[in-house]
Symmetry: C2
């Protein structure tokens, strides 16, 4: 099969890494690939912070609820939605345009496009990794740690390294739930969904050697109950986003 | 060079397509790759609508300010941030968690991860395309056209097909503007930025055979002045997002 398609289909999160360091050449290729992501109106509205300082890694690990791969990954890239840089560069009289929902959306999308491209580049070079959104548990802490100016929003940490172990890809929702033709897809097949819920239960059961027996619904419901992250709203607004 | 890295580095938008249709097998591979994108807490908080109906394509073209590739592309995939589906499935008493900034951010990121992966899959299969954010000029129109329920936000249209012509990749900002180590990168090199502005001017001048002579600053400032899209805020809130 096409090498690239194989990489894309075989994605699964990697949280255990060998000691092999990631060379500067590899890091540079990953970052160059990230930069070549599509970007809305060419705004390039994101910033990447490479986190090397062990104390800052340790702080991020605490913010993320103790996820140990935040400190053990040889490479950790913090992707931020960034409107600040363009505010300093562009010649726009009506500064309010930077603060509306469109601007927030574009910067989150730009950062995510770049992160996905960095992730795939890393996978193409033999690395694996995981996107850690758990850092959003303490956004003021991150802003302080990295001296983030207003209008910069730390989105997630991409932890990368050479895999010690790689899980099988996790089964996604049946395509008909996700994709419609010419209209929004309506779910009218309870059995199909029940089968999927069971599929996830079996997958997680096997992955955790029986320690976890949650299906799709239970797993996601638990995640949402435990990480509502209401404080993200205050942070985002305090930094100048979503004002209009 | 690694085939995948080559694809990632050689990205540029394609807006002119040959008549060659995109086979169902190819479309299916693109969609399967999209689904294997990372997703926050496994929420899979996005929906893809494949737009085949010529009238709907025509409407989208008008919404996007007349971008002709919206109708001419053999394949058009509308990526939506989608919290609606999970609201119907998950067992969460406090429904307010779906309406906060965290939930909006996660769904935009999930949709974008999937879109980037679809785009790279397409490029790996010999297609090219462009992300059309211009559809956000008329979000109520889109919601009506595709019968979108509340808590679904149409983000962009990915137009794909076999390239008639492919431009050279557009030069990105120098890496030191985008990427810092252990702290937010501060720009203190005016000459480097001026050189980049000139690089973009030259690139656009050549690309448009002299019709356009804008540098980075002028181009982006123009885009922002002409597409502030303040009405995105009202739409997003009217659909239930960003309430908390």
């Amino acid at each position: 099969m096409n090498q690239t398609i194989e990489i894309l289909l075989n994605h699964s999160s990697v949280r255990n890494f060998t000691d092999q360091p990631v060379s500067e050449e590899t890091i540079n290729t990953i970052l160059r690939c990230a930069q070549m992501a599509p970007t809305s109106s060419f705004f390039q509205a994101y910033t990447i912070i490479r986190v090397e300082d062990p104390e800052k890694r340790q702080a991020l690990q605490e913010f993320s609820g103790g996820q140990k791969w935040v400190t053990s990954a040889p490479l950790a890239l913090l992707f931020c939605a960034d409107v600040h840089r363009n505010m300093g560069i562009l010649d726009v009289e009506d500064k309010e345009v930077f603060h509306n929902t469109e601007s927030f959306t574009v910067s989150v999308a730009d950062a995510t496009f770049a992160a996905q491209k960095a992730f795939i580049a890393a996978q193409a070079l033999g690395l694996g990794g995981v996107v850690v959104g758990g850092i959003r548990n303490n956004m003021p802490g991150i802003a302080q740690l990295f001296n983030l100016p207003d209008m910069v929003f730390p989105l997630f940490l991409l932890c990368l390294g050479y895999p010690k172990h790689k899980n099988d890809p996790k089964p996604r929702l049946p395509l008909q739930f996700i994709c419609g033709v010419d209209q929004y897809p309506t779910i009218d097949n309870d059995q199909l969904f029940a089968d999927y819920d069971k599929e996830i239960l079996d997958y997680m059961h096997q992955l955790t050697q029986g320690r976890e027996s949650f299906g799709f619904v239970d797993r996601l419901s638990f995640a949402l109950k435990n990480k509502p992250r209401y404080e993200v709203t205050d942070f985002v607004k305090s930094k100048g986003f979503l004002k209009k």
